[in-house]
């Protein structure tokens, strides 16, 4: 019986009767219940089964025969198909065996549940594969034997679940550390703790047994062991610090590792001398190694935070621009850089045109919102030129390459942006100033103390110099800034934005002016119906609305989609309307005949921005289209201004529309429209220069399109909105992760809190250091006390730098910092320098 069923199943067409996908989930239960018969279809899931039931129930089985016909196959949208054929080549084979392993970067992981899902999906679907998810690093390791082509199938399955696999080499563009480096750091840390704790045990033994001093053999063993362990800590665990300090010395740059290295080496040398010369009171190995262990712990914490933030940045950046479907000469998926002039390719709906090209399809709809700021799509016909960066607003379109991607518009804008970011002013961060002071000041003082003492009392001079160097050790400075940044970056992530570097957060607190782009940043970037007006009759006439909806549903045009979206909310408009002879005229509208009358939905004149429904030439309804402002924008603008920062709007869209949008968010007169990408760049440069000259602080730019690229690079801080393409995200300093501009206000508050924390850390460190240096120089501080203070101050720094958050109460920090202008002053007049 079992074998019969088995052979029947192998003759079956094992595909879902509704969607046509192969049936991977056919469990034994299903085959028992419905053995394969031609008239009993099998479905892959409840969704398909339910849909099929509805279709058959309504008597629409002809759907399936239409689906099977050649025409339907040819016009399938490009949509969701992604090719992962490049991934199997990443598999590394073990020598001499059939087994291979492959490591991928996986995006979309949120928590343990995602890891569990991914691992289970792979193991159940591909029983012979081994899968392991590393949540910390965001990577997936697959292992198996035989052919590695199954990797492409795994990637495709996971893609449909929402997890994207990619080459790890591509994802590490932002400087993530490799697995080797991480492991090295953990080993060094572990060794440091191991040695320092053992040294402390030895030292404790020495303190507790006073007669040990009279037993030279035992004492020698204790000291010798301590010395050996101490050497391991200094030579191995703190080797990176010493190496960086040496590199800084050779290249004459500032590095906070230099004074730290000097302190460590001085204390080590002194202690080793004490061991050799049998001067027990010179030995500080326990405090020294304890301090090193704590210092390394702090840095490890910092790297862990940073790696997590970098992973989120990688996901947010979505560095891949995605492969393109080439149709000729060789059909297949290629990287955009592989499109040469003359190649024919296809762009799906909603996708970005990768290269400068000419239209090959009969017609198409292109949106130049990313390039110019106008959100309406433009009709194009065969032969028209389309620039790279345009977005396909309609059906799949075929195009012929004119210029390669590196010569296309996108690439030129990118290189312009790269040049602009070099012209940005260099703001010396606070940490850098202090690091410089420490690097030169402290050794100078130590040498001063030594030279004073050489004449009088060399031993005492050595003591005081050592104590000075130890107490002035800027471990605090070295740790505070990175830890504060890590904490700030984590807080920022939770609030919906990614800060790309420590430098960015430090300079962010000085913002004075934020310039916003309009289309796609403050608005949704697509048409929305604002209101419907009745011409000669009421605007709620159901028949007219139903007619308009029926006409609009036949077209992909952005105006039609807006009308459909608007009318979908009115259920009474979904009645059946019989239309005949439907013709769509690009650039004009939709003509049809309904119950004997000529009906039309579209643009009546060039001047009007709206869409009109007319019957037999008589206008009945007028739909006012507009670009919808993101909810909460007005509130955000207000909040930013209450924080003492000014706001301005720059847009490439028509001046009247820009002014209208500005008025609606409460920025009367503070906007300028019709600005070209180059114009935006010039404006930003002027504003930044004047702000810098008056020491007023930074100018930010918030944008989402390729027309903002240069301005974003040139501004003191560039913020990319969530809808920005990868090239814009790559050149920005901050990325917004959510729709809406609340992140900008949050960033201001976060930056000010972080700044306050940093100043606090530096202030406390300065106070402690000045006091300590004076005490040491005057002989009130013995080296062993100084050595104990080192780890204690480190612990204090770690808790200060990580134990903070951004609360509403912090807003009052604003007036305490020098803002230069009162908050109540009307922003309009203070922008005189921008004209």
């Amino acid at each position: 019986m079992v074998s019969m069923v088995h052979s029947e199943r192998t003759h079956c067409n094992a595909e879902c009767a509704h969607c046509g996908q192969p049936l991977p989930w056919a469990s034994d239960e299903q085959s028992d219940r419905s053995p394969c018969k031609p008239d009993e279809p099998l479905y892959c899931c409840r969704g398909c089964a339910g849909a099929a039931r509805i279709i058959r129930g309504l008597g629409l089985e002809s759907f399936y025969s239409i689906l099977a016909s050649e025409q339907a196959q040819a016009r399938r949208p490009v949509g969701d198909e992604r090719s992962f054929d490049a991934l199997p080549s990443l598999a590394v084979r073990d020598e001499g065996s059939d087994r291979w392993r492959a490591n991928f970067h996986i995006s979309g992981l949120r928590c343990y549940a995602c890891s569990w899902l991914v691992e289970n999906v792979v193991r159940r679907r591909f029983a012979h594969l081994h899968a392991e998810v590393n949540l910390t690093m965001g990577c997936l390791t697959l292992g198996g034997s035989g052919e590695s082509t199954v990797v492409a199938q795994v990637a495709s399955d996971l893609y449909h679940l929402g997890y994207e696999l990619s080459d790890p080499a591509l994802a590490s563009g932002t400087g993530r550390r490799s697995l080797e480096e991480r492991r090295d750091e953990v080993v060094r840390l572990g060794v440091a703790w191991f040695c320092s704790l053992n040294i402390m045990v030895l030292a404790l033994g020495e303190y507790l047994a006073p007669d040990l001093q009279h037993d030279p053999v035992m004492l020698g063993v204790f000291h010798g062991l301590s010395g050996a362990l101490g050497t391991v800590v200094l030579g191995y665990s703190s080797w990176p610090i010493l190496r960086r300090a040496w590199a800084a010395l050779r290249s004459r740059t500032v590095s906070v590792d230099l004074p730290i290295a000097v302190a460590l080496l001085a204390a080590y040398g002194y202690s080793m001398a004490g061991i050799m010369l049998w001067r027990s009171e010179w030995i500080y190995l326990d405090s020294l190694t304890g301090a090193i262990a704590l210092l390394l712990s702090g840095r490890w914490l910092q790297s862990a935070f940073l790696d997590r933030a970098t992973q989120a940045m990688d996901d947010a950046l979505m560095l891949r621009e995605g492969p393109v479907r080439r149709l000729s000469p060789e059909p297949g998926w290629v990287d955009p850089s592989g499109l040469l002039p003359g190649h024919i390719f296809e762009v799906g709906p909603g996708e970005i045109v990768p290269v400068d090209c000419a239209v090959e399809s009969q017609s198409g709809e292109m949106s130049l919102a990313a390039l110019r700021g106008e959100f309406e799509t433009q009709a194009v016909v065969r032969g028209d030129d389309v620039p790279s960066g345009a977005i396909n607003g309609g059906r799949p379109m075929v195009a012929r390459t004119i210029r390669r991607s590196r010569d296309s518009g996108i690439a030129r804008t990118r290189s312009l942006a790269a040049r602009c970011s070099l012209g940005r002013g260099v703001i010396t961060t606070l940490t850098e100033k202090w690091a410089r002071a420490f690097t030169w000041g402290v050794p100078a003082m130590a040498i001063g103390v030594l030279s004073w003492g050489i004449g009088h009392d060399p031993a005492e001079a050595m003591h005081r110099a050592l104590a000075l160097v130890l107490v002035a050790c800027p471990c605090a400075l070295g740790m505070a800034a990175p830890l504060i940044f890590s904490r700030g970056a984590a807080l920022g992530l939770a609030r919906g934005f990614v800060v790309r570097s420590q430098r960015v957060l430090e300079s962010a607190a000085r913002v004075r002016l934020v310039v916003f782009d309009k289309t796609g940043t403050m608005t949704r970037g697509r048409s929305v119906v604002r209101e419907v007006r009745g011409v000669g009759r009421s605007a709620s006439d159901e028949r007219a609305l139903a007619l308009a909806r029926a006409l609009a549903e036949t077209s992909h045009h952005h105006a039609s989609r807006a009308v459909v979206e608007y009318l979908e909310r009115k259920p009474q408009t979904s009645r059946l309307v019989r239309l005949e002879d439907v013709r769509e005229e690009f650039g004009s509208g939709i003509h049809a005949r309904c119950e004997g009358s000529e009906v039309f939905l579209g643009k009546v004149s060039d001047a009007a921005h709206g869409t009109v429904l007319s019957v037999d030439g008589q206008p009945l309804l007028a739909f006012d289209l507009d670009d919808e402002i993101l909810p909460g924008t007005a509130a955000v603008m207000n909040e930013i201004r209450q924080l003492g920062v000014e706001v301005f709007v720059l847009s490439g869209d028509h001046p009247e529309r820009t002014a209208d949008i500005a008025r609606r968010v409460g920025l009367e007169g503070g906007a300028e429209g019709g600005v070209s990408p180059l114009g935006k760049l010039r404006r930003i440069m002027t504003m930044a220069k004047r702000a810098g000259a008056h020491r007023l602080g930074g100018v930010w730019m918030v944008g989402n399109g390729l027309n903002d690229l240069a301005a974003l690079a040139r501004a003191d801080l560039g913020i990319a909105a969530v809808s920005a393409p990868p090239s814009v995200r790559l050149t920005s300093d901050v990325l917004l992760l959510r729709e809406g501009l609340e992140g900008v206000a949050e960033l201001i508050r976060l930056a000010r809190c972080a700044q306050w924390r940093l100043r606090g850390a530096i202030g406390i460190a300065a106070f402690y250091n000045v006091l300590g240096i004076m005490a040491a120089a005057l002989g009130y501080l013995s080296p062993w006390v100084a050595a104990i203070l080192m780890p204690l101050s480190s612990m204090g720094v770690v808790s200060w730098s990580t134990g903070w958050s951004v609360g509403p109460a912090q807003v009052q920090v604003g007036p305490q910092l020098k803002t230069g202008r009162g908050v109540e002053r009307r922003w309009k007049s203070s922008l005189s320098y921008s004209r």
Binding site: R123, R124, V187, M218
Partner: protein, 54 residues
């Protein structure tokens, strides 16, 4: 006091063994993913399915 000549090498040897085990664990990647390992204990359904059972 002579017992120290046994105690010292013994304890030192044990300590080095512990250190060696730590380095071994890190190099083999056991400390790479500290987030997931905590949860793995309570996951079910991850038994390796042998091909013959299918």
């Amino acid at each position: 006091m002579e017992v120290f000549f046994v105690l010292f090498p013994l304890s030192f040897g044990l300590a080095l063994l512990a250190l060696g085990a730590f380095v071994f664990a890190v190099r083999r990647g056991q400390y790479d993913d500290l987030d997931n390992q905590a949860a793995r204990v309570v996951w079910d359904g991850l038994e390796e399915q042998k091909i013959s059972e299918k």
